[in-house]
């Protein structure tokens, strides 16, 4: 193992230079992420509420925060809601994204370019700008969506989309999927262009139907990409914060629409229960790290080559 990708490795000399080069980045990461992580673990074992925020020394209470949380049905409701929201969004994004990528192969070139530029534009939108636009589209009084639904004969005049939790999450899903599909569609389409034509043609000559070719040749060839993209979607959708937070401000009960991220925020920054918030945050971190393991493995495969 003496090669570094992209060229021959410099001789493995013993030199402190690489370590020196890593110092600035390491310091930044340790100060802004490493130290808070340690502090958060400590915080999650402490009784740290508003009184402590105003100077009283925090008491060490061991696992009490965790015990309180795990016996709190609300945490389980929020966790379940988060997982459900995550899975529905990731699945919908994958379905639409992969579907579009497959269809893009069969579109006439100008249409394909049209679709790609549209997706690129949606992808480029900053999340807050996208949020305000979607709020405006779903606006109760003057929103285009209510107008169009009323025009086709449905009773949506003055309909409030954010009032009912289910409808609230429907809107959130539409927005999240709209923002996430471009990444999936582009990545999968790029992978599809690499699929061996010969193999597909051979299967066609052997009499395989379109569906069979897709199932047995095309999809298996892009399996690694599909897995990584799906995993990234799950990880990203697990931590949807901005969209939920902004929609909550626009209307809708926070209690019935909190996901883990907004719950931590309201628990900690909102009501000063830092110890409890830290415990929920640890829970969320562990959940993410577990999910991240396969992603890291896939990425390292290339590194080892």
């Amino acid at each position: 193992m003496t090669t570094v990708e992209g060229g021959k490795a410099p001789r493995a000399r013993r030199t402190p230079l690489p370590y020196a080069l890593l110092v600035p980045a390491t310091i930044a990461l340790v100060v802004a992420l490493g130290y808070p992580l340690v502090r958060q673990v400590v915080l999650s074992f402490q009784d740290f509420g508003l009184a402590q925020q105003f100077g009283r020394p925090p008491a060490w209470i061991g696992l009490q925060n965790y015990r309180d949380l795990l016996t709190d049905p609300y945490l389980w409701t929020v966790t379940l809601r988060t997982l459900l929201f995550c899975l529905v969004n990731a699945a919908a994004t994958m379905l639409v994204g992969v579907g579009l990528a497959l269809l893009m192969q069969h579109m006439s070139k100008p249409i394909r370019i049209l679709v790609q530029s549209g997706l690129l534009l949606a992808w480029a939108m900053p999340v807050v700008a996208a949020m305000t636009v979607w709020e405006w589209l779903f606006d109760t009084q003057y929103g285009v969506i209510n107008y169009l639904l009323t025009e086709i004969g449905l009773d949506f005049e003055g309909h409030s989309w954010l009032l009912q939790p289910l409808s609230f999450f429907f809107v959130a899903t539409v927005i999240v999927v709209w923002m996430s599909v471009p990444f999936v569609a582009f990545t999968v389409y790029a992978a599809l262009t690499q699929v061996s034509e010969d193999m597909v043609e051979a299967a066609e000559i052997d009499g395989a139907s379109g569906w069979q070719r897709l199932r047995h040749i095309v999809l298996p060839s892009i399996r690694p990409v599909l897995l990584v993209v799906a995993l990234l979607q799950v990880i990203w959708d697990l931590r949807v914060f901005t969209q939920i937070y902004i929609l909550q401000k626009a209307g809708g009960s926070t209690h019935d629409t909190n996901l883990l991220g907004t719950y931590i925020y309201r628990l900690g920054i909102g009501s000063g229960k830092f110890g409890m918030a830290a415990a929920v945050a640890m829970f969320m971190l562990v959940l993410t790290v577990v999910l991240t393991a396969p992603y890291v493995r896939a990425m390292l495969k290339q590194e080892e080559n």
Binding site: T2, G6, K8, P10, L17, P18, L22, A25, T26, A28, L29, A32, L33, P36, Q40, L100, L103, M107, R112, V115, G118, L119, L120, L121, A122, M125, P126, V127, V128, A129, A130, T132, V133, Q141, V144, Y147, W178, V181, F186, T187, E197, P224, V228, V229, F241, I264, Y265, I269, A281, M284, L285, T288, T292, Y295, V296, A298, L300, K301, Q302, E303
Partner: protein, 279 residues
């Protein structure tokens, strides 16, 4: 795969393509369209589909609010500092990781990959406590600190690919011609890295410019708001009365991002999945 497609399949694909295009583009179009409309058109029960007869009135309103100009200043400072520091730190780290073999190299890379996936929501409570203790809440420095750490992993990872992409043989050739190793690196490899530095710098810019969650946690004072925070509070106050102004604000925030994003999009996508693509 560019095999001929049967006609009905092509037609179906094209129809769905056009629908997908409309769904993707309409919100963006609607933002720009509404930003030109005056209050009467906005509050008309029948939507105004094209901004004929529109004006720049909404943009004037936005620029005349002190909060917008102030938020713009804060955003420019935080974004600028984040890009400069993240790029500098990431560049030297990327050189170390891709041009040297040393103990701990692999652990460093694995750590980066894991950190890259950590959700901000999982740490912002203690980052808040830390900045509070350091007296850095509501400061550009404090927000920049957490932003730099946030974009570093991806920036190092991507730059690493760019550095590794320049064959080491080029440097060796220069060294045979009498350059020192450092000279060889700066004369040969560094100029070839310009596109990579631009691309990753733009990535940092987009991240810092768009970021909402940490800004919400760190910048609690009104006079320290970044643009995304300004936009959401502006929307809260004016919802139902001034959607035109809100859309003008959104458009202004989106323009630099869209422009930059379109410039570097291709280079960035591969960074996240290159491991899988090459298998």
């Amino acid at each position: 795969m560019s095999r001929p497609t049967r006609r009905p399949v092509r037609i179906t694909a094209n129809v769905i393509g056009v629908i997908a295009f409309l769904v993707a583009v309409f919100p963006v179009y609607w933002m720009v369209n509404s930003s030109f409309l005056d209050r009467n058109e906005i509050r008309n029960p029948v939507p105004t589909w094209v901004p004929f007869g529109g004006s720049l009135h909404n943009y004037r309103t936005v620029f005349e609010t002190d909060q917008f100009v102030n938020a713009l200043k804060i955003s420019v400072m935080v974004t600028g500092l984040t890009v400069v520091f993240a790029l500098g730190f990431a560049f030297v780290a990327a050189v170390a990781v891709s041009r040297f073999r040393f103990r701990g190299r692999m652990s460093f890379i694995v750590t980066l990959l894991i950190i890259q996936m950590i959700p901000v929501e999982g740490l912002f409570i203690s980052q808040y406590k830390m900045l509070e203790a350091m007296d850095l809440l509501n400061t550009v420095v404090g927000l920049t600190l957490v932003y730099v750490a946030g974009v570093l992993p991806f920036t190092i990872w991507t730059l690493r690919g760019f550095v590794a992409g320049v064959p080491y043989e080029l440097e060796e050739a220069a060294m045979i011609d009498g350059c020192s190793r450092t000279q060889a690196f700066f004369k040969i490899t560094f100029p070839l890295l310009a596109p990579g530095l631009v691309a990753t710098g733009v990535f940092g810019f987009i991240q810092a410019w768009n970021e909402f969650t940490l800004a919400l946690v760190v910048m609690t004072r009104e006079d320290q708001r970044t643009l995304p925070l300004w936009l959401t509070t502006f929307a809260d106050v004016n919802r139902g009365t001034d959607w035109g102004g809100i859309m003008a604000g959104s458009t202004l925030i989106a323009i630099p991002v869209v422009v930059f994003f379109l410039l570097v999009q291709g280079r960035m996508v591969s960074g996240l999945t290159s491991g899988a693509v090459k298998g």
